[in-house]
């Protein structure tokens, strides 16, 4: 087990290195560098050149890359040209919003997806199952952003039940009960928009897992022993069908983070995805770059977590 984890970690390391090189190359392809944001027309050209040399911007790329990596380890991710602040501070403002959105969506996905999948699998080919299967069929064919728009249109504008943008109502004091309630209220629509589409995969896996498991001999044995039907499902079938879904947890989180770009855009939700789009449109590439690095890092960690869970759950997966 430990062996597997360490070996899996060894694969992770080169991934991180290649990711960082890729982001670095993309950064150098982007117009402007760390200095262009600080340029003041009144500064003479020689001073700028001197500053460039001082910052090492004329060094060969591998030196620059090394410096860039070292700086990141010291917590220096560069400066945002647009905000005139360190990139980390700009991202820090938005980080928690995205974390909350992802957390809410994840909880919703499992809270809704697991019962739906369970019912669908247990009573397969019933009317209820057909309805659920039909829903997942539609869900697979619906892009998240269209669903987000429709939800916003119906519940945000036409019915007016929920706020249509932002993460909190203005003028509330952070930390107060009203502030928290307002935050939750703002989260409802976007997280449902993510979850209602995001859960179709979970429902389908669980359904087919249950249908497969319930024909297995040990389930028949459990019945033969006189275990109650509800206990058969809750204890034996469910526990055996849930494993793969639990294992995909890491990937699920990563997928959510990626998908939240659309939702944050539609709901003008001030999270990291929105920040990314803003920084692209304002040509604030230093922020965009760090965000890509950050998302890539999360994806690598997510894959790592999933693989480790998977290896605990299913010994066959352990890589050679």
């Amino acid at each position: 087990m430990l062996k597997f984890t360490i070996r899996r970690l060894l694969i992770t390391f080169p991934q991180l290195v290649i990711l960082s090189v890729l982001v670095f190359i993309m950064g150098s392809m982007m117009p402007g560098d760390a200095l262009s944001g600080l340029i003041d027309p009144s500064i003479p050209a020689e001073a700028i050149q001197a500053r460039r040399e001082q910052l090492g911007l004329d060094n060969p790329w591998y030196i620059q890359y090394r410096d860039w990596i070292f700086a990141m380890f010291q917590g220096d991710f560069g400066t945002s040209i647009f905000h005139q602040r360190p990139v980390m501070d700009v991202i820090g403002d938005r980080l928690m919003n995205t974390v909350w959105l992802s957390l809410f969506s994840t909880v919703l996905i499992y809270l809704l997806g697991l019962p739906l999948g369970l019912v669908s699998g247990r009573y397969n080919d019933s009317l209820l199952d057909n309805a659920i299967t039909g829903y997942t069929y539609l869900g697979f064919a619906t892009p998240q952003f269209i669903f987000g728009l429709i939800i916003l249109w119906i519940f945000g504008y036409n019915l007016g039940w929920f706020p249509t943008g932002g993460s909190v109502a203005p003028g509330l004091e952070p930390g107060s009960i009203d502030y928290i309630l307002s935050k939750i209220n703002h989260l409802v629509l976007p997280s449902f928009a993510i979850a209602l589409i995001g859960l179709v995969g979970t429902v389908q896996y669980l359904r087919s897992g249950i249908i497969e498991t319930k024909q297995k001999d040990f389930i028949i044995l459990a019945r033969a022993k006189g275990v109650k039907e509800s206990a058969v499902y809750n204890k034996h079938v469910f526990r055996n069908s849930i494993l793969p879904i639990a294992a995909f947890f890491g990937y699920e989180i990563v997928a959510l983070l990626g998908g939240s770009i659309f939702i944050e855009m539609i709901y003008s939700y001030p999270g990291m995805g929105r920040l990314f789009l803003d920084s692209i449109s304002t040509r604030d590439f230093s922020v965009a770059n760090v965000l890509i690095l950050f998302y890539g890092f999360l994806a690598i960690v997510g894959a790592l977590v999933s693989d480790i869970i998977l290896s605990i759950v299913d010994p066959r997966i352990r890589i050679k």
Partner: protein
């Protein structure tokens, strides 16, 4: 004149493990096997599953890597590094499973014509009569030409496999348990027809099987393999009349006899051999559980007996 000579063939597979995935040990699939097959004869290689007989055959075909040892075909070394001696049109193989050895998406014509296309530039017009001739030779109707393999029964599929193998007029055919996937009722028929073809074309054949009865029917020489090594080798009569190794004795005793009157005697004999086997089998193997080197008893008969003394 020996058409095929295998000298001290070893095929080892590494067992990887541990933290850095290093080689921990080896599976010795074939461990020092020497075989010579005179031209125009059939050599039977017998053994239980995992004894390395198929691996030996595939090593000759070049389908397996060879750890050490030499394989000579018609005097040419086959497994030399560097320049490859291309004698593949002279050595052909008949596979065990007639279901997986024919590409399900190819028609019989394409299957049988594949080797000809690889070695000779021929137009379709030239190929059709050639393939039809091969089909006729293996006893398939010309109507088979544009059918897919799934439209044939196992025995017929194996005939297609044989047609493909003889398409290039090879000198040596390696038949890897060609009938073990077939119904018993078809086995004899396919065997007879393979024997006919062997005699017609003066083929040399290495016949791999796990069934001594089948081998007795087909082969002039027999080699018996156990755990990657030969335990006994000799002319068919010698092996059957005068088996020396306990493992061989047990295999021969296990051949079912159809003579009803002899049932009692056979049972008793079998029981006797089994007892001897249980008692002495360990003595016939070295401390690693492998067979001893072969010693000659007669000019052709060699047995892996423990060194006396």
């Amino acid at each position: 004149m020996n058409l095929l000579e295998i000298k001290d063939l070893k095929v080892h597979y590494p067992i990887k493990g541990g933290f850095f995935n290093t080689v921990k040990d080896h599976v010795k699939a074939v461990d020092g096997v020497s075989i010579s097959i005179p031209e125009g004869t059939t050599y039977g290689l017998v053994g239980e599953s995992g004894s390395g007989k198929t691996t030996t055959g595939k090593a000759v075909m070049g389908l397996n890597h060879v750890t050490s040892g030499e394989i000579f075909f018609d005097g040419q070394k086959l497994n030399s590094k560097g320049k490859k001696v291309d004698v593949r049109d002279d050595i052909q193989m008949i596979f065990q499973d007639p279901y997986s050895s024919l590409n399900p998406r190819k028609r019989v014509f394409d299957i049988v014509a594949e080797p000809i296309r690889n070695y000779h530039k021929k137009t379709r017009g030239e190929l059709v009569p050639e393939v039809l001739g091969l089909l006729q030779r293996v006893g398939l109707p010309p109507g088979s030409l544009y059918k897919y393999p799934h439209e044939f029964s196992g025995g017929q599929r194996q005939r297609i496999g044989v047609a493909r193998a003889i398409a290039l007029n090879p000198k040596l055919i390696i038949a890897d348990e060609p009938v073990s996937a077939l119904d018993v009722s078809v086995q004899a028929q396919v065997l007879n027809f393979m024997q006919d073809i062997q005699q017609d074309m003066n083929l040399t054949m290495m016949f791999i099987a796990h069934d001594l009865g089948v081998v007795r029917h087909m082969c002039r020489h027999i080699g018996i393999m156990y755990q990657g090594r030969l335990v006994e080798e000799g002319r068919t009569e010698e092996i059957f009349k005068n088996p020396q190794h306990i493992y061989t004795k047990r295999l021969i005793a296990a051949i079912p006899d159809t003579d009803v009157d002899e049932i009692e005697n056979n049972l008793a004999f079998r029981q006797m051999v089994k007892e001897e086997y249980d008692r002495n089998f360990a003595d016939h193997l070295d401390e690693e559980g492998r067979a001893f080197p072969l010693q000659s008893i007669t000019e052709t008969h060699r047995v892996a007996l423990p060194v006396k003394g």
